[in-house]
Amino acid sequence: MPSPRYWREIPGRYRLEAGRCHGCGKVVYPTRRICPACRGAEFEPVLLSRRGRVVTSTVLRVSPDDFVMESPYAMAIVETPERVRLMVQVTDCEPSTVQPGMEVTLEFRLIRKEGQSGILCYGHKAVPVVAADTARSR
């Protein structure tokens, strides 16, 4: 992802800023100019709750180059209480334990590094509410 595009998306990525349609109340994320539900063009900014529920998920074992150190890892579509769905990586857990219905929080994490010398890209990842195994033996 080239740096200028990352920079434009900072409000949505860093603060989970979304838009609430004046016409029908639908919350859209990422923000857009026209409401997909009522075609209204006026939005007020709202912050998404930093929690949600997994709608569906998958485990990536053969990952893009920048994510090799993280694989295997889970990706999930998470729905927030505002009924917004976003696709996020799920972290701090065994990937196979991520299942539909699982409650997650959304935490600010490093998403990727632009190669060896490029910028660092931050955003949100999901963390299971009952994260990880607490067993000492593995």
Binding site: I10, Y14, R15, D65, V68, M69, E70, Q89, T91, D92, C93, E107, F108, R109, L110, I111, I119, L120, Y122, K125, V127, V130, A131, A132, D133, T134, A135, R136, S137, R138
Partner: protein
């Protein structure tokens, strides 16, 4: 003087035990546990760094203060592991917390003391009336070279403190700093791991500065060790803070709550600030607290604090240090740990 209006801490969920590290290098785990008083330490995930830890801690500090982030006029982050060599951590953290753009931002460095340094400057700016609210953060994802004594302690975590004049949770009664040129621990530009002077890090460095700062602030405030319910000293390992506290006349009971190093490790700039957060999680109104940091190079900052009536209700609005130390966590093998700490080089 103004005081703390909000605070927050963050400790990553991954852990590695002293036993697991000792096994890798053929060392006796019991001698580490007995000698350094270290059971396990936190390990930041591949996606965690000083910036993400600062955001997590800063969010809880703002929540406990219930302050509009736009009113925060200064943000300082102390760390020796800022992710960029050139580009401030504070810019990312401010943007994520909703602070600014009308804000003064800087990254501080002073080995393990950078966190209390950020707190000192934030407090002083609020005191002066220059800004309404100011945040000081201490956070680190410390690195210890493989098979070095530091590998048993160097961990990840941090704490954030928001200072203001109204609705204060913890009054700041006094501050004191003590600094000299002492080459006990350093890292030259371009080097991956820090180096240290072995035993030289003890008497002429840690103990001299911690004890001088603590004695200095006691003299300046006219208080004695028994006037405090809690004390926390920088925690490079489990043993040093106990020895320094004992020499100063503090009891194990006063130091118990803040001495989180045994299961957290040394979070460097986040060490004594996170110990303080653990204390604020349980302190009662009127309790006096002494915090003394230490940064190699070398120096110590000390603060005398006193909890107000507001603290008990406000602390409910954020996560406690104990909930993160004792809550859900993952235990790593040395191999996983090496991967997480990027000690493995990939062929790109």
């Amino acid at each position: 003087m103004s005081g703390i209006v909000g605070y927050g801490a963050y400790i990553p969920r991954n852990r590695i035990t002293s036993e697991e590290i000792a096994r890798q290098w053929g060392k006796d785990p019991r001698s580490i546990q007995r000698g350094l008083l270290l059971e396990e330490k936190s390990v930041p995930g591949i996606d965690e760094d000083t910036i993400t830890i600062s955001v997590a801690a800063g969010r809880d500090a703002l929540a406990r203060a219930d302050v509009d982030p736009q009113r925060v006029g200064a943000l300082y982050i102390g760390s020796e592991s800022h992710p960029y060599a050139v580009k401030p951590s504070g810019t990312v953290v401010a943007e994520a917390l909703g602070i600014g753009p009308e804000v003064h931002v800087a990254d501080f460095e002073f080995a393990c003391k950078a966190g209390t340094e950020a707190m000192f400057v934030a407090l002083s700016l609020v005191d002066s009336g220059r800004v309404e609210y100011a945040m000081g953060i201490g956070a680190d994802t410390s690195q210890g070279a493989p098979n070095d004594a530091l590998e048993f302690s160097a961990s990840g975590g941090g704490a954030a403190y928001l200072f203001g004049r109204d609705r204060v949770l913890v009054d700041v009664l006094e501050t004191y700093s003590f600094t000299t040129d002492t080459p006990d621990f350093w890292r030259r530009e371009g080097q991956f791991y820090p180096r240290h002077g072995g035993r030289f890090t003890g008497e002429p460095a840690y103990f001299k500065h911690v004890e001088a700062a603590a004695r200095g602030i006691l003299a300046r405030s006219g208080l004695k060790p028994e006037d405090f319910r809690f004390a926390v000293f920088h925690m490079p390992n489990g043993k040093f803070p106990l020895a320094a506290g004992k020499a100063l006349g503090f009891t194990n009971e006063q130091m118990k709550t803040g001495r989180v190093v045994t299961t957290m490790g040394n979070t460097y700039s986040g060490s004594s600030p996170t110990g303080l957060a653990a204390i604020l999680d349980v302190a009662e109104p009127g309790d006096r607290i002494l915090i003394t940091s230490f940064g190699s190079g070398a120096g110590s900052d000390a603060f005398v604090l006193q909890a107000t009536d507001l603290l008990p209700s406000r602390r409910e609005l954020g996560a406690t240090v104990r909930s993160m130390l004792d809550g859900p966590r993952r235990y790593l093998t040395y191999g996983e740990y090496a991967k997480y700490r990027e000690k493995i080089i990939l062929n790109h």
